[in-house]
Symmetry: C2
Subunit: 98 residues, 2 copies
DNA sequence: ATAAAGTAGTTTACTTTATAAACTTATTTA
DNA sequence: TAAATAAGTTTATAAAGTAAACTACTTTAT
């Protein structure tokens, strides 16, 4: 009846991150922080979780002298996001005969 | 950019309950338990939370000799559900200019 | 030159939330 | 009358979320 939700994506911040990366392909730590309004600490933790699941890749470099953390969504991440959206839909369209 | 999710509805089981009650108008504890596959304990706790928020109403009666807990969604619950769905949509349709 | 403020994060400690196991109360069946 | 079943609730524990404190370095002001 209901398709299972992805626990990793059933978090407002992590869903925001994934949603951003679906749209932007590539985004810096600061950009994501600004767009989501998350605290740096929380963002750091959630990015690591998504990275550990291979939903995103994180690369560290420098922009001038400043550290720059760049995030991208992976093919697995895109797949997981789409599956999660499908699952969400199963909660939204409910009819009695299903 | 992203509309805020309702913390109460951002839980798989509570969303399932609300989704069921949107479709069925009225459902017993056992029915919800069967449909969601939740344990009784977890279901009891989550129903109480939804009830405390006035998203559902719970009425206790007897069917024959057996206790019967019947749940209904309230107008506030319907409103919250619809708002939450709208918020979810904001995470699903992302375009660069928003 | 150096102190103060800002940038870009990470780690840690704490709080909240979710969940299952254990319990309660009563009923049916063997 | 003992054992199993039904319908829940309470409570203890595990997992998750979050902010505060910290690290490390850079830029700006004095």
């Amino acid at each position: 009846m209901f398709k299972p939700l992805d626990p990793l994506l059933n978090s407002e911040l992590r869903l925001s991150i994934m949603s951003l990366l679906i749209g932007f392909e590539e985004a810096s730590f600061s950009f994501i922080k600004d767009k989501t309004g998350a605290t740096a600490g929380n963002l750091s933790v959630q990015l690591q979780k998504l990275s550990e699941a291979n939903y995103i890749s994180i690369s560290k470099s420098f922009k001038g002298n400043m550290p720059l953390t760049t995030c991208r969504i992976t093919p697995l991440g895109i797949q997981a996001f789409e599956k999660h959206v499908e699952a969400l839909m199963s909660f939204i369209n409910v009819s009695k005969d299903k």
